[in-house]
Symmetry: C3
Subunit: 477 residues, 3 copies
């Protein structure tokens, strides 16, 4: 089964654009006006260690494309391919497929599953754009393409630092736990290399009393901050210390992954009482929910003080299948979204800090129904609120179109946060930004051909979406 025929390249110059000739012409011109702009990557999960030394190389094509990327392997798993066959490590250390060529072959034989999906389009773009692969990936071509990619990965020009330059990345933000010493970030800064790799402060593991290992996580936080954490005040002080440290290492943002955006302001004494129960291992699920809601307001307060942009990523029920979690650990494809309510949940936080422009709160959602109903109205009123781009499952052509069509009319373009790729797959970054820039150009061109926007006026909007808004929102400018 072929996806793309052999007569035409996998990746077309006018891909993603409307077939209408007038709209396509405008979309292409808008796209070309922003295609050469640097990539701003304010949120993602690339490993900073890739850049700590100049001579890092990716191990092999399977390690680069498949094994660490749950976007990819979950699709094969859903069709009955055991993750062991794809080399995904087991939590118990039991053996899994160790030959990257066999992993690649299995993947290639199932590549047709990705037809019509963003993952498939990114992969095709990445293979052609980064590695010059012009044949289509299939069982028949797998071995030859493996060789071609593997040879390049070992060759000059394919270290992460070299790719960073070639990808024209301006800044890349990582995501790091509160206790992280940021060793790699410090090494990068000390190395004199010109790339910008900035950390992001993500304290989920200590804010969520129900997180696995909360007590040891909190102990590690205390050690990192040089404080013994025996009470709530010390906990808050340690968080403030770590934020300051992250900021000193280039961080401009925090990030918070939560099941729900519930926020609350607890009465004096309550946070301490809950915190003590947590230290003694007797905190309840209700305690954990109340505490997280309270700490999100605290995080907003600290953002008012230190200027770190606050990101909120709610709505993923993590690790839906208990036995799968036990076998393969978290982030292995089993995170499933749930409905999310923002209007009432954020009222306590926004009631306190929502009108303060020192706060910058970037909201994401896995529940698209909130776009037009809650998120756009919130962003269209509160000076502190910006809407993050389509996230995770919605980082796709249709997801972007729905975002533009459901958000902009109410929120306006300038209350959105531009793009971020949110990926752990470093080599997919150009393909992801390219999709966004093309989708934005096509959407703007659609407004122009409907006379809802003047063609000249579309250019600064295309630029804002491609570049300016991400820099400004994340205070990177």
């Amino acid at each position: 089964m072929f996806w793309f025929s052999l007569k035409e390249p996998a990746v077309h110059p006018d891909r993603y654009f409307s077939p209408d000739p007038a709209q396509k012409r405008i979309a292409l011109e808008l796209y070309q006006s922003v295609a050469a702009l640097p990539l701003v990557c304010p949120h993602g999960h690339v490993d900073a260690r890739l850049f700590a030394q100049p001579d890092v190389h990716f191990a092999n094509p399977a390690q680069l494309f498949i094994i660490p990327d749950h976007y990819v392997f979950r699709m094969l798993f859903s069709r009955g391919v055991p993750l062991e066959h794809l080399g995904v490590p087991r939590a118990d250390g039991a053996p899994v497929e160790a030959d990257p060529r066999r992993v690649w072959q299995t993947f290639a034989e199932h590549f047709y599953l990705f037809q019509g999906t963003p993952t498939g389009l990114w992969l095709a773009d990445e293979l052609q754009g980064v590695f010059g692969v012009t044949h289509k990936l299939s069982g028949a071509t797998a071995a030859a393409i493996y060789d071609q990619v593997a040879a390049q990965l070992a060759a000059p020009g394919f270290t992460p630092r070299e790719l960073y330059a070639r990808f024209n990345i301006e800044v890349l933000c990582t995501t790091d736990s509160a206790a992280d010493p940021l060793t790699a970030h410090q090494a990068i800064r000390a190395s004199g290399w010109g790339g910008q790799i900035r950390p992001t402060f993500r304290p989920d593991a200590v804010l969520d009393l129900a997180a696995p290992g909360w007590q040891s996580n909190t102990e590690a936080l205390g050690q990192a901050a040089g404080r013994a954490i025996h009470d709530y005040a010390a906990f808050v002080a340690a968080l403030e210390d770590r934020r300051a440290f992250f900021k000193s290492q280039g961080a401009t943002a925090t990030d918070h992954g939560v099941l729900t955006p519930f926020t609350t302001v607890l009465a004096p004494g309550e946070p301490e009482a809950i915190f003590q129960r947590a230290l003694h291992g007797t905190a309840s699920a209700a305690d954990a929910a109340q505490f997280m809601g309270h700490m999100l307001v605290e995080m907003a307060r600290m953002s008012v003080d230190d200027g770190l942009v606050m990101q909120l990523h709610p709505g993923a029920l993590r690790s839906h299948h208990a036995a799968h979690l036990e076998r393969f650990g978290p982030n292995t494809g089993a995170d499933i979204p749930v409905g999310v309510e923002f209007t009432r949940n954020l009222q306590p936080l926004l009631g306190r800090f929502g009108l303060d422009q020192r706060l910058r709160l970037v909201l994401f959602t896995l529940d698209e129904t909130a776009y037009s109903r809650e998120l756009a109205p919130l962003a269209g009123f509160y000076p502190s609120v910006r809407l993050g781009p389509p996230w995770w499952f919605f980082d796709s052509w249709n997801g972007m179109r729905r975002f533009f069509e459901q958000v902009i009319e109410t929120a306006g373009l300038y209350n959105t946060a531009g793009f971020n790729d949110d990926t752990r797959a470093f080599a997919s970054i150009p393909a992801r930004h390219d999709l966004w820039r093309r989708a934005a150009a096509d959407w703007l061109a659609g407004l122009v051909v409907r006379r809802m926007l003047d063609e000249a006026g579309a250019y600064p909007m295309a630029r804002a979406l491609a570049y300016d808004l991400a820099r400004q929102t994340y205070r990177l400018a």
Copy 2:
């Protein structure tokens, strides 16, 4: 930053239509077949006093376009512009910008924020269509455009009555509290002027026990009805009296703004018990919810009796930010929607009166997910139910498209209520109806080019959407 280039008019003859030549041709012809029909305005918030005297003039461009219109000023507020700079009055009477030219200048400098939004398109259409402004509004052109508009507002032909005629309005319904003496409406009827300005009975302030000033509102209701309201029976009788009075002044409808469409039939004695608690200031939030649910069923019962069309507008959480409410009062941009459930909530009301064609219940929503899931199926079964057009944030090109695509297949066209502009900005009325008529024509043309509708059959549907359905639904025909 220019929105529209100087070479082309801000408002194109084929605006909003699909770029596909076949679809555009059909859409344009359908639109032209209804463009000259009178405007029927069965629901809105225009002040009746504008029409009470023949020589009323709008004060200035800032008062006309900006200061009373939260659709407009919230967008600037969200970007950090204090409402005081826009002349929005403070509740405490503290001074705000009093120079309308400065307000206009600030607005013009931020007009680019409205690109791609319905508000921006209405404003451009209104400036060109009503005032002949052909230059684009920006900081540079602000002063000249201010002068041009201000001169016209003072000139002959720009009184509300003259604009009413020029806009080709057939009927305009206002929204009025239950105790309102309808002085302006009476003056209009007494004046012999030919325009139809009809009141609408909106008793939220007395049906909602938790509304600010409920006790004085209820006292005012009693005074208006000439009854002392010391018990529930007198309260119901006063409401019936006022409905009769409104009807005598031309009203054909009631309107109910509620957080949720919860309805219930309370056991005998319960309404009285709750009402007494409310009179004594001891009613709880649960009391208020139960009472509103009960009174909505009562309103349906009265509609069966007196034939007033019952409108239900649920889903806005009003005044999301407490301090902002205190500073600027209600209706100043901080109303945020919440999810709404119709199927179960309306079952008690519809179980009683839903099959009775004397009831006409027009349902609106700020939760678009209800369109296909709940509202269209309800309207496609109950003879009493009609679906109101896209409301508030969704009164836009995309909002209309979603409405057509999610509602009509199940509800059918003839169970919808046509258009209403729901605006307090009188001069924007033609632009809003024009968008609806164009969006409807484009949607119908899309069905025609897909052979899902015969071209001849589309004309009566375009007319129904533009004119007939609003008249028939609101019993104005």
Copy 3:
């Protein structure tokens, strides 16, 4: 009022396709590549008795098109036409219109209500495609068209068996209660006729303790299974027996219509305790909910054992209006959807059996918000899960488009279940499959013209949607 003009046929060869010439050409070619494939009908409500004898004839046009089809008569009812005028039988046996010509006339006069609806398009297609009616149905043409259709119904070539062959149906599954003796199915198998009519095991009436007549339903189940059901173990054994019987009669699937997809694993002893309360008539609503949640997990367990594909149809609040139910019975137009949560509700069931490929769970929804948020992520992880096609109100051009655009990017095409027509209107089956095949072709062509899919790669996907996926999903291949 004419729907289609007299100059052109009601049903166009390129109906449903995009007006864009490039997209239309590709869509048409894709459609033509699958148009002649047999129809696979794995889920529906056609009466098996139609096929039990070779000489069955449909009574008349009203019986064929109107009286048994709530999709049709609810629309007229919503506009004030009493169901009695349409010949719909009353539960109390009171007289209703008995003249099929008068029923047909009333229907024809209201046929314009169906403009732009899938029901209207199916009916037009069916009249032309099955009965050769080229004039448009209206009050004026009603009598002549009645005669034309009635004559054909009495003529050779229009028995259900002949139409089955002419429609090119490969297999047709019915829906049958757990206690059904499947007499008609047995007669068909014994008759030597070559059509495949397979039963489907739908035990709602005995799994739902709150269903009308649960005790007699359960007694009937026991009789059918040849077991006295005095305890939970016998109940489970009887269900297993009946599943085996259905399987012996050709069944490959079960079906479960529930208000919510709540599942739970009750502690040992709890099912028996609830079951005893139900036998004694003292089970509560909470009991019924818990029991259904438990039995769904049991059904999954049995599917693992016997291989019957498990279908779940949640989200319809049945018989919304009590007096209407009393007057006309169930399935008479008053079923209204509610919001549905899948992620948390299915966790107990999927936690037990979700990774077991012997389970095949096909999920349907009346809440389209679940497509992108919950259903596609679930199908994109769990090997057991497939997504059923757009159901009921969403079995339409727009419903299909939303399904493709919201599901495939995350779930992938091969985790969907192809099409099923879910109809009780046998003669509408070709029109329904034709719409699906055209909508799929148009969607794929849209990907091709946006270069998101290679044209050659689209052909197997079109075939999968039209034919392969339904056969494979339902284990009919």
